[in-house]
Amino acid sequence: MKDLIKILAWIFFIILAFIFQANHFLSLGGINPNLILLVVFLSVILEKKISRFLVLIIIIILLSVVFLPYWIKEIFILSILGLAIFLFKKSLTGNNFFDFLIIILLGNLGFYLIINPRYFITNPVVIIIELFYNMALGFLIIFGVKSFSYEKKTRIKP
């Protein structure tokens, strides 16, 4: 039951990210943050069980078939990147905060490297701005999540 609730919560955030990103929500000067990447990588950091993470990845791919059928390749690559990072996350620092920022950096660069390597040469500035923007949003998200979990842990029951 607890697993199901967690997966449903992730699905909610993923759908929200899909909708926002396909409508260029939070676009700054024409540069869109990669919200789908942020949600996928946040689940990489916060999820402990690989089974739950795999279910989530399958759901993301199914959702993209329904909502973003033209961009299935991109979503598939993001999912594979997420899975690869999940498998190697033990080699990271162990600090959720820094790990999240590190994987946003690696994931963002890896994503464009696989999707369109030519993009690195033609639009390096856009990549750097997007990277900064994603990391700033990632920073706020992980900060919010940490504050929320800290508050939850320290809350005194009446």
């Binding site: 409508n23 024409g30 869109n32 973003l68 700033a136």
Partner: protein, 221 residues
């Protein structure tokens, strides 16, 4: 110590936010300062513009080329491309290669993929876009490369081009002389035998909600 860095980071993020949204912030402040009289003037001006839009739409209706109007369903979600998904597809008879307009006579792109109820449109803002164009009345030829903004390459160095010159399509797989935009910047270096230029369009591709598809065009693909 960490808190200090966090505060600095948040401050930087706020500064970046203000930098990008400064226009919107100032527009918002200006709006507050507007008097009732100015508001009335704006309303009248708006009515005039609305009438103009209606006239343009009617013009499109009266045009000899049949067209299909479509709503923008969603946009390419990442930064490395600029494609649109529109809400018409094979059920509406849409075919790959059909030209898509942003407004009357304004070329936006063409259909690249068609599914039952939706289609994908590659736009002139996509880095994969390449087509032949001519510039201004002199008709200097160039290659249009997609991007934000779209660019013109391979303009002969002796071609006389000016800021504001209209850029028209001459690519055979799209209707001849459709307007693409106007020249906003010219880069000509004396050492290079070719010139480059940037194009500005009268519309913002991120704000487009409706597009028009020319339905009876068969280009040389």
């Amino acid at each position: 110590m960490t808190k200090k860095y966090i505060l600095i980071f948040i401050l930087l993020a706020v500064l970046v936010f203000i930098y990008f949204y400064q226009r919107n912030i100032f527009v918002g402040l200006d709006k507050l300062r507007l008097s009732n009289q100015t508001l009335t003037e704006l309303r009248l001006a708006n009515q005039g513009l609305e009438q103009e839009v209606r006239d343009l739409k009617n013009k499109l209706n009266l045009a000899s080329q049949p067209y299909l109007s479509a709503r923008v369903y969603s946009r390419y979600p990442f930064n490395n491309n600029q494609t649109l998904i529109i809400d018409v597809g094979s059920k509406n008879g849409v075919k790959v290669g059909w030209p898509v307009l942003a407004a009357e006579n304004y070329l936006l792109g063409k259909i690249t993929k068609v599914k039952a109820t939706t289609s994908e449109v590659i736009t002139i803002f996509s880095p994969d876009w390449k087509s032949g164009v001519k510039i201004g009345q002199a008709g200097a030829e160039a290659v249009l490369t997609g991007g934000r903004p779209p660019k013109l390459d391979l303009i002969p160095v002796d071609a006389k081009i000016n800021l504001g010159d209209e850029v028209l399509n001459v690519s055979p797989n799209l209707p001849l002389n459709l307007l693409i935009g106007k020249i906003s910047e010219i880069n000509s270096e004396p050492t290079v035998s070719l010139q480059q230029a940037k194009i500005r369009t009268d519309y913002d591709p991120n704000q487009l909600n409706k597009v028009f598809i020319i339905t009876d065009y068969e280009g040389f693909n």
